[in-house]
């Protein structure tokens, strides 16, 4: 039952959208690939230090891990596959591609429980991978249950702090029964209510439906003494430098005053030593600190997300706060260091919880790019023209969006809108129900644009999910903006943009099944359009149609995500089977996130290419000057065919770029 609810608890939408296409020469791509591999930096320690010998089993898994070098003839590919199929793999392995043993990098799976391997065997016997896959997940759920129960029994206060944030996951016990990272991930996925944890029925499971964040603060009756509170997988806290709580993801801030004070004490203790605290690892938990002047942000997580990713999330959380209050809030603390900020944030819980939710589904949170709604080029141009028209009349930014996807936007001359600001602004508008009831005029701050000053946002919904935001510096221009909106709305209605938007929402984005076959044929965007027509016919029957038999796209392509570095936009394919459960989607999201972090790791990178293989997928990441491509394949996918498919994806995206990207967005930053 717990697992059921965990499964339901996924995200609201697959939030993946589109980036843009680079100018890569197809013919050279394969070569680039090899070059890229050649340039892979020496052995990256994918194995996280998280275990740090704190647990017995950690050492075990280190011992069990081994590095395999795959040489160029591809034999190793086969053998690695055999391992998966036959379940002979030792508890960990590192795959090295293209025989560059020294430039290795890639995946470590640590001490999987034996049972997991048996499951893998089982699936290969079955010869039906999809079924096998499902069974794997089911079996994992059992595993998971077991772990949970054990955790209950052995929950030991390994508290990193005096107020007893007891390493809620009972990590040591779980690890000692042989569940290292693999099972962590599983557990993670199983609970995926965006990290909402309660593992074993504390009765709240049913609240974790998709829109659960939409009701503002949850579990406000919890405090640091509640077991359920300690069991949460991912906490976010904001506090002032005097230790006053400002925000907590779970529980009532005021009840957490003692806990806040403890966090503050940790920060100031380290600062007194002339240093700055960044990270504490305690068992499975990471405690990340971010100090922003008088405001401290802390994340306590056992989700195994990389430190850099979690730190980025704290940065966004802080910027979201600035969007509401501006950085001039610091002055309040200068005047009165005991200043209580909570009243100023009254009613904004929902904004933060929705942002934190986005950390587990929206790639924009780490790609720092936005995504566009797929539209015919002419449609987008029509929308852009009228937005430009009003932008010339004293509007700083005119942004037309549908949910988190951009339809079109335009900025006044020299005004640059940062993708992070767009993410936070759309999160602010989407999460606040009151914008839907009427036209609104509200002060907001765009932290990347100017963290000190308010802009004024006129917001009006033009359809169920379509909304227009007009930003200005003039607090008296409401009626002017209202006129602008009426003009824009008239044009959009007349030119059918709004109905096109509705259709596009129904159609969804690119699908891996539609990847054109042969890139050498003179290709146009036909397939994309054809797919749309096809979709119209099967509209409504989202899954279960004949063509989605669970094999994904060509060569076992399951999903891809592409970020255009020139446009600061990304595009992601729709989730196709077998990535159709919330858990699977979230697991993939986290895998991409990890991949992204390791590719951009400043210590050992940046890298150009990475090929990872584990029991869930083959992941391929490829970064050039123009783009970043992330792709997930069937775990049995051949490396060479995966590379071919990636080239085809790039070609395909280039063919349809005018539909999936906003190409005229000149005022954007790059």
């Amino acid at each position: 039952m717990e697992t059921d609810s965990a499964r339901e608890s996924g995200e609201e939408e697959n939030g993946f959208t589109q980036p843009e296409i680079g100018d890569d020469d197809i013919d050279n791509v394969a070569e680039d690939f090899r070059d890229g591999l050649g340039l892979l930096s020496p052995k990256e320690k994918t194995m996280e230090e998280r275990r740090n010998g704190t647990l017995d089993s950690d050492n075990d898994s280190d011992d069990n891990s081994r590095i395999r070098t795959v040489d160029e003839n591809g034999n190793a590919d086969d053998s690695s596959r055999i391992e998966v199929e036959e379940g002979q793999s030792d508890s960990s392995r590192i795959e090295v591609e293209e025989g560059q043993s020294d430039s290795s990098r890639i995946e470590v799976e640590e001490g999987q429980a034996d049972s997991n391997r048996q499951i893998a065997e089982f699936s290969s016997e079955n010869n039906n991978f999809v079924e096998g896959h499902k069974e794997i997940s089911e079996a994992r759920e059992h595993l998971e249950d077991d772990f949970s129960e054990q955790e209950i029994e052995v929950e030991a206060p390994t508290s990193p702090s005096s107020s007893g944030y007891a390493g809620g996951r009972g990590s040591s016990s779980a690890a000692s029964i042989g569940s290292a990272s693999g099972s962590e991930e599983i557990r993670d996925a199983l609970r995926s209510g965006d990290g909402v944890t309660e593992c074993f029925g504390n009765g709240n499971g049913e609240h974790r439906g998709q829109a659960s964040w939409a009701h503002g603060k949850r579990y406000s009756n919890e405090d640091e003494t509640s077991i359920s509170w300690r069991k949460r997988k991912k906490h976010f806290f904001v506090l002032s430098h005097s230790g006053k709580p400002i925000y907590s993801r779970y529980g009532d801030e005021h009840k957490l005053a003692g806990f806040s004070a403890t966090l503050q004490a940790i920060v100031s203790f380290v600062e007194n030593g002339g240093d700055h605290i960044k990270l504490v690892r305690a068992g499975n938990h990471q405690i990340i600190f971010l100090v922003k002047g008088p405001i401290y942000l802390v994340c306590i997580s056992c989700t195994e997300e990389p430190f850099q990713a979690l730190k980025g999330q704290l940065e966004l959380l802080y910027d979201q706060m600035l969007l509401i209050l501006t950085k001039s809030i610091d002055k309040c603390f200068e005047k009165n260091s005991k200043f209580d900020m909570t009243p100023l944030l009254g009613g904004t819980d929902v904004v933060f919880s929705s942002l934190i939710h986005a950390f587990s589904w929206n790639p924009a949170t780490y790609l720092h790019a936005y995504t566009c709604l797929p539209l015919r080029h002419s449609t987008r141009q029509a929308a852009g023209a009228i937005l430009q028209d009003v932008a010339d009349s004293g509007v700083l930014f005119a942004i037309l969006m549908c949910r988190h996807k951009v339809i079109s936007l335009f900025g006044a001359q020299k005004a640059i809108l940062h993708p992070d600001d767009m993410l936070l602004l759309s999160n602010f508008v989407l999460s606040s129900e009151s914008f839907r009831t009427s036209e609104s005029f509200s002060p907001i701050c765009l932290p990347q644009f100017n963290p000190m000053a308010f802009l004024y946002a006129y917001v009006q919904y033009l359809g169920v999910d379509t909304y227009l935001m007009l930003l200005t510096t003039d607090s008296d221009s409401f009626f002017h903006l209202k006129e602008c909106r009426i003009r824009i709305e008239n044009v959009l209605v007349k030119s059918n943009v709004l109905s096109e938007v509705q259709r596009s929402m129904l159609d969804g984005c690119l699908r891996v099944e539609d990847l054109p076959g042969d890139p050498t044929l003179p290709s146009d965007s036909l397939s994309f359009r054809l797919r749309r027509d096809k979709n119209l016919q099967v509209a409504g029957s989202s899954t279960g149609t004949g063509r989605n038999t669970g094999i994904g796209g060509p060569a076992g392509l399951w999903h891809f995500m592409y970020r255009s570095n020139y446009l600061d936009q990304y595009v992601a394919s729709e989730f196709s089977p077998p990535i159709n459960s919330r858990n699977a989607q979230k697991r993939l999201f986290r895998a991409y996130q990890k991949l992204h972090t390791s590719m951009h790791d400043k210590d050992v990178g940046p890298h150009k290419m990475q090929y990872r293989k584990d029991e869930n997928y083959v992941l391929l990441c490829w970064i050039t000057q123009e783009f970043e491509l992330y792709a997930a394949f069937d775990p049995l996918a051949e490396k060479s065919s995966a590379i071919t498919v990636c080239n085809r994806v790039c070609q395909w995206l280039r063919d349809v770029e005018s539909e999936i990207f906003l190409l005229e967005a000149s005022p954007l930053s790059w």
């Binding site: 209050l325 009243p343 036209e439 005029f441 008296d476 209202k482």
Partner: protein, 200 residues
């Protein structure tokens, strides 16, 4: 005044009050006839318009439903500047909100617009069982300060339309001396001028 030829007037109306007192609910009840048990916090200010016919005069209310959160307090002048009427809302089950309401009245009085029609609304009259602010107390306060007072319930619609009608009735008397007080909104001065001519 209102009896003369032109019988259209436009009036800016602003709702002020602590968060959670039911400003948005009052407006939604008046404009759309709706009531939501769980009304989300307003962000910034929401704009509505609604037309009423009173004594052969059509009054078009431009209603600013402001957010009650403290962070928006400093922005309130933006919304009440040039207003013809203000409704100050408190929650009869919350005495703090009544204190806040008095502060709003003070602030508006300091604004120095003597012709501003001010209404004091004690909302949530449907939960009188939890009452913390006595009607008499509010009534006395209102009289002393030249406001008119009503207890309302957005939930049951009690006194909601009456409140707005009463404001509309009082408006024309206040109009002739009304100052445009620094409004620079493009489309309004013309309307306003027309109103003066009809009322003077």
């Amino acid at each position: 005044m209102a009896t003369t030829g032109t019988n259209n007037m436009q009036a800016k109306l602003v709702l002020l009050g602590d968060m959670g007192t039911g400003k948005s609910s009052l407006v939604l009840r008046f404009v759309k006839g709706q009531f939501l048990d769980y009304q989300e916090s307003t962000i910034g200010a929401a704009f509505f318009s609604q037309t009423l016919a009173v004594n052969e005069v059509t009054v078009k209310f431009e209603i600013w439903d402001t957010a009650g959160q403290e962070r928006y307090h400093s922005l309130a002048p933006m919304y009440y500047r040039g207003a013809a009427a203000a409704i100050i809302v408190y929650d009869i089950t919350n005495s703090d909100s009544f204190v806040r309401a008095k502060n709003w009245v003070l602030e508006l009085q300091k604004q120095g617009n003597p012709n501003l029609v001010m209404a004091l609304a004690g909302n949530k009259a449907d939960v009188a069982a939890k009452r913390k602010v006595e009607a008499e107390e509010a009534e006395t306060y209102a009289k002393e300060n030249g406001l008119f007072f009503m207890e309302t319930s957005a939930k049951t619609a009690q006194n909601v339309n009456e409140l707005f009608y009463e404001i509309a009735r009082r408006l024309p008397k206040a109009r002739p001396v009304q100052q445009p007080a620094g409004m620079v909104l493009t489309d309004r001065p013309a309307e306003r001028a027309r109103t003066y001519s009809c009322c003077s």
